[in-house]
Symmetry: C2
Subunit: 267 residues, 2 copies
DNA sequence: CAGTGGTCTAGACCACACT
DNA sequence: GTGTGGTCTAGACCACTGC
């Protein structure tokens, strides 16, 4: 044990328990060292010190920076990895997660073709219906943590699989972080919306919560999705969060599930 | 390093890499030691050496039993814990997870009352419609890994919240493991079905996969759920697995979502 | 008090990727 | 070869639980 100094290292770490030195007095709000390290790394992530796709310093570098052992930063990074905030690649390094990667694209779109269905579920075709700037209705404001009347963007679009319209979506975004978002940008872009959000606005979606209901199609919806009025549709309301549990997007989708389904894993 | 013998310990562990001894030759199908330990513990779990609710041996005991260091069994148990197969309780021990615990009851029922709804979502009232023994239809057999015509049990029931019928469910179970299941047992029982499965049949559900669609109520369903025909309902098809990814239950539910929703977290 | 899980360290070696 | 993540050990001490 080389660390015999009772003073904690830089960065305002509170004296941890069981650090191998003579035990400091019990801290009132005790938090393990690796949690504190995790918070520090998280802060750097939020601050943009390392951007999506970037490699973050190696375990040993971070251990040196925070004056802890490699094992401790490993445990911190392990948690960040299971939270999908960071991806480890053996032999290469640890990288800030991004929605632009091939194998995690559409991580939040839990729709699959039914077995036996003809659909091969290629990438969705996207058609922007409109993209407007307006004042937030009360309910939208509440969920996004804004005040009623604050500027928001509303994007309406249709997603189609194999030429058949499948999803009608309304996307609500806070006006501040997404200033300058245009229908053209959205139309020209290929790839997931969340990847665009990262590259163009520096907003990374980290987590989302969905509420799902069954509803009947109203007249407008029926037309866009080419079904009869009253046709049963899945209503999927998603609230997506960036770092630090800040809500950044409210999305309301209506899904045709005639030859597709929403899938979910329970653990 | 006390372990200087190049032969692996008992239990048929393959020589691991990086165990502190002089490196053995690279194993073709390399698997970390802690994974092997995890498998061994899993095997004991399946074999019923420790039953749901039981305490398993302490970290140190297991370390001694498998002749590895405490850190290695910890890593194994950590994974079992995140898989919800085992629960750690500081100061007490590590216990085999069970559906009978208060705070994890209805772990697989992802239904919540809407905000602003009057429902306080007390425990569901359950009404068994029927419980029959019959031969498995092709599709059911396929999903349960049986042969068409094998004996299966079919349970139909209605769940109600606050007196209002909410869910109409068909539960298909393989006849073998659930031999002797009776409508009376189900009716008399209070608490989750999955808890009953553990205590009465030694079958612990570990994981499930759901496919969700929106459908219109047919005549029979409409009556049970007290809605009009064609009323939009959530169709939730769940395949639940025991240890070792063995499918053990197929469940088809129709959910009213007028004042409730299915919720989901995306990570 | 003893026993259990939880944290931390220091150091070793392995597997992988790049150059 | 060098650097990175991944595995493993041995030993220490802390925090919690229950006798």
């Amino acid at each position: 044990m080389s660390q015999t100094s009772p003073t904690p290292p830089e960065s305002g770490l509170t004296a941890p328990a069981g650090d191998g030195t003579a035990g400091a007095a019990t801290t009132p709000a005790f938090s393990p060292l690796y949690q504190q390290i995790k918070s520090l790394i998280l802060r750097s992530l939020q601050a943009g010190e390392w951007k999506p796709g970037d490699m973050i310093p190696s375990d040993l570098d971070l251990a040196a920076r925070y004056r802890v052992s490699q094992g401790t930063v490993r445990k911190a990074i392990d948690e960040l990895a299971t939270d999908n905030l960071v991806v480890r690649r053996q032999g290469k390094g640890t990288f800030v997660a991004t929605h632009a990667e091939q194998h995690v694209q559409y991580r939040f779109l839990r729709v699959q073709p039914d077995e036996g269905s003809a659909d091969t579920q290629g990438p969705a075709q996207r058609h922007i219906i409109e993209c407007r700037r307006l004042r937030a209705p009360a309910e939208v404001a509440r969920q996004l943590g804004l005040r009623t009347g604050d500027a928001v963007l509303l994007v309406k679009r249709v997603l189609a699989f194999a030429g058949q319209p499948a999803i009608l979506e309304e996307v609500w975004l806070p006006g501040g972080p997404f200033k300058g978002l245009q229908a053209e940008t959205l139309s020209q872009d290929k790839g997931p919306m969340y990847a665009l959000f990262e590259t163009e606005f520096g907003v990374r979606m980290v987590r989302a919560v969905e509420k799902i209901k069954a509803v009947g199609a109203d007249a407008g919806t029926a037309e866009w999705l080419r079904v009869d009025m009253g046709h049963p549709l899945l209503s999927v309301e998603r609230l997506a969060y960036t770092y630090n549990n800040v809500p950044m997007e409210l999305r309301r989708g209506l899904y045709r599930t005639d030859s597709r389904h929403y899938f979910n894993e329970l653990n």
